[in-house]
Symmetry: C2
Subunit: 234 residues, 2 copies
DNA sequence: TCAAAAGTGTTGGGGGTACACCCATGT
DNA sequence: ACATGGGTGTACCCCCAACACTTTTGA
């Protein structure tokens, strides 16, 4: 075949995008995922990843961003293609191929707790998010694995935090994603050695113990360090 | 949308797979890619990645394997999904989304030099493979980058070599992919420390200097080491 | 005997890991 | 004063990187 036919009149699969939207609660040390409850068959009443069909006049990335904006009202967030799932029987309605994306959102800052939109939507702990519709369990598992790997060699933890954060908060994000404890002193040494954070002259407020210094991610510094071949392996 | 409509009567994009087939010549130290010359518009006469449309009754992986078998007569080779390319205008004939795969083939062993099939097919040095049809330049670039990363933390160099190979050949594969020289002693120490190779009681033949010992990849050992959490970072 | 590649050990330095105590703040 | 988390330094060890010569074989 090799793209050589100008006409391609055979039946086509449908193409969708699904988004694995990750967030963290700053206090609970848990990785969360945004799910939507289905109100139609198949899988009626079950929870599923937000997603939808790709339109002919939009790229895959645009489709993912559009769906995400529709579901979460969030724009300008970290979004990356994950994998494309194309088993023949993954959707009982017919042949639907889905291009999965994963997104990191600054839950604490922008999204009200217990956010829901017109459709029933809710944040779930990733461990509670089981028995999802379609092959979404599988997609979620792949996304968690990818996130774990990614965080090991690129500094994306900030994407899950508000613009100003403490090093302890950042460490909690990493521990949550990696599912293991990190040594506080080593973590700080490492992160600060990347030279991509600005220490602010500001400290936590409304906290009932010694207030921690706030930091901000500096993307110019990050680009500079990346040019210089810095590798951000934790 | 969210997969909630049982009917989906909107126009659908076409879905294709394209394969970046990598190989190495054992003597020339160059990474090669298999290309096919187009004999129809658009991009008539230009070289392109082998690929074709996905059928409704086969998974994406199956489609990639089928195309690969059709193009190279090879089965049972290393194949992995790369990325899905879905820019609106990537194909002038209309909306065609392509799921790209990359494959590693044991060129020296199985494929005759200068292999071609009915369509004009040929191996190109990856550096000479430019001005390809569609967005295939871009796909190739992404594949090279992925291969470079992958080889750094998973031992896939063997996939490009015949079953029996010398350590120097293996090192050449790594150097070719990574595009940098490696220290011979350190390379051998590292590779052998993974404990995934069997040293054979066999040596090179028909070589006009001291013959090197042959090794074979042992996939049981590999699985064992992987269970034990061995990481294969070079 | 020469050419060409195979094969082999050691050392120094940097970075990762492990580890414990004092400090600042609010109640 | 006490409870709670914030913040800091050091020592050891392992692994990575750098480095050069001898051996084997065929021509």
């Amino acid at each position: 075949m090799n793209h050589q036919n100008d006409l391609y009149d055979y039946p086509r699969p449908a193409v969708a995008v699904d988004c694995v939207v990750f967030g963290v609660e700053l206090d609970e040390r848990e990785l969360k995922v945004l799910l939507i409850q289905r109100d139609n068959p198949p899988f009626q009443g079950q929870w599923a990843l937000p997603g939808g069909y790709v339109r002919l006049d939009e790229s895959l990335d645009d489709a993912a961003r559009r769906e995400l904006a529709e579901e979460t009202n969030l724009t300008d967030i970290y979004l990356e293609q994950l994998y494309t799932f194309g088993a023949v029987d993954r959707d009982p309605r017919g042949r639907i191929i889905t291009v999965a994306y994963y997104a990191l959102v600054k839950l604490g800052d922008y999204l009200p707790q217990g956010y829901t939109d017109a459709r029933d939507a809710a944040w779930f702990s990733v461990d509670e998010a089981i028995r999802l519709a379609f092959d979404h369990d599988c997609i979620l598992a792949v996304a968690r694995e990818r996130l774990r790997n990614k965080v090991g060699y690129e500094p994306i933890g900030f994407e899950l935090l508000p613009p100003k954060f403490t090093l302890t908060e950042l460490q909690n994000v990493y521990e949550t994603i990696l599912e293991r404890a990190l040594d506080k002193r080593n973590f700080r040494k490492k992160i600060l050695s990347f030279n991509i954070l600005d220490a602010l002259d500001e400290i936590q407020k409304d906290v009932m113990h010694r207030a921690a210094r706030l930091y901000r991610f500096n993307s110019e510094k990050y680009e500079t360090q990346k040019q210089n071949g810095m590798n951000f392996q934790l």
